[in-house]
């Protein structure tokens, strides 16, 4: 999660199995959490995680900036989720909401500290969000990705990501205050 952590991406690119092991171990659970909260099915999520790892090991040479390994991995997983959605004709945002570049990122961080008894409420709130907003918020929560990284992962414009994040935080805060 921290940008400063050293990941053995170069060694992995050289084909060292131990390096890959370290990378996969670092990301396997956050990746699974992200995928599961989008597709809401355990086996499908495991399949997507496996496919993501296989793709990553195959196409690592296409990654030119080692520090972006995390966002690159999540972008592969995100694409897999979209493919599954299209196959199953699931809910998908075909109409892109208008990106709003005027939305300031400093519209208030969503500093949440959740009490144990509020964890269920929190999870329900996440599930209630529309998929595009859920995706953005999960990437923010799970790996603390920046707006640029989230835009890169989801393939959306930065303005669109800002907009989604803004509305996601707003909705979340509102619901959270109501319920807690």
């Amino acid at each position: 999660m921290a940008c400063n952590e050293h990941l053995p991406v170069q060694e992995a690119r050289a084909g060292e199995p131990d390096a890959w092991d370290t990378l996969f171990k670092r990301y396997q659970l956050p990746l699974y959490v992200y995928v599961f909260e989008l597709v809401r099915d355990e086996q499908t999520s495991l399949d997507i995680v496996q496919e993501t790892f296989v793709s990553a090991s195959r196409y690592i040479h296409g990654l030119h900036e080692d520090e972006k390994f995390g966002s690159w991995l999540f972008s592969i997983a995100h694409q897999r989720c979209i493919q599954r959605w299209r196959k199953q004709n699931n809910e998908e945002t075909s109409v892109e909401e208008q990106g709003d570049n005027s939305i300031d990122e400093a519209d208030g961080p969503l500093d949440l500290l959740i009490k144990k008894e509020q964890e269920e409420i929190f999870m329900n709130l996440v599930h209630q969000l529309p998929l595009p907003q859920r995706s953005v918020l999960l990437l923010f929560f799970v790996e603390d990705f920046s707006l640029e990284e989230i835009a890169s992962i989801t393939g959306a414009q930065i303005g669109t990501v800002k907009s989604r994040m803004h509305y996601a935080k707003k909705a979340f805060r509102k619901l959270y205050e109501e319920q807690s």
């Binding site: 199995p17 171990k25 396997q28 995680v49 959740i114 929190f122």
Partner: protein, 142 residues
């Protein structure tokens, strides 16, 4: 009190053994083959290499037996001297003793030929007539 990240990860912690299995599987099947390929500095066609290994895996004992048989045949050929091919042997050069013996025989043969009279096949050499006194000794006077 926990952060959203902590809540989310803790909620799904029970899935980790299955994720570990996936990780191990990828390491063994895919990355095991790749590491062998990368040691030989061959560009990454390792995905195919791993797939080829998987394809041949059911026949590994058959292939091993075939390889062993070939090795045995090869070893047998190397160990056995080459006798089956017909080779015309060159006659050895005669030794000096034999040469000397042959020359001696030729000499003796040549001497033998000189001593013995010439066979009738050859016309006699004309000899000079004997003196008259010698010719009259054996004949009656008329």
């Amino acid at each position: 009190m926990k952060t959203p990240r902590e809540v989310l990860l803790r909620r799904h912690r029970s899935i980790e053994p299955k994720l570990d299995t996936i990780r191990q599987k990828i390491r063994n099947v895919r990355l095991g083959a790749e590491s062998k390929v990368s040691e030989g500095h061959v560009p990454a066609t390792s995905g195919r290499f791993a797939e080829l290994l998987e394809l041949l895996r059911p026949f590994r004992f058959n292939l091993a037996g075939l390889g062993l048989t070939c090795l045995v045949i090869l070893a047998f050929r190397v160990a056995t001297p080459e006798t089956s091919n017909p080779v015309i042997a060159k006659s050895a050069a005669p030794s000096p003793d034999v040469l000397a013996a042959l020359q001696e025989k030729r000499r003796l043969y040549a001497e033998l030929i000189e001593q013995s009279p010439a066979p009738s096949a050859h016309s006699p050499k004309p000899t000079a007539p004997k003196p008259r006194s010698e010719r009259l000794d054996g004949r009656a006077c008329v």
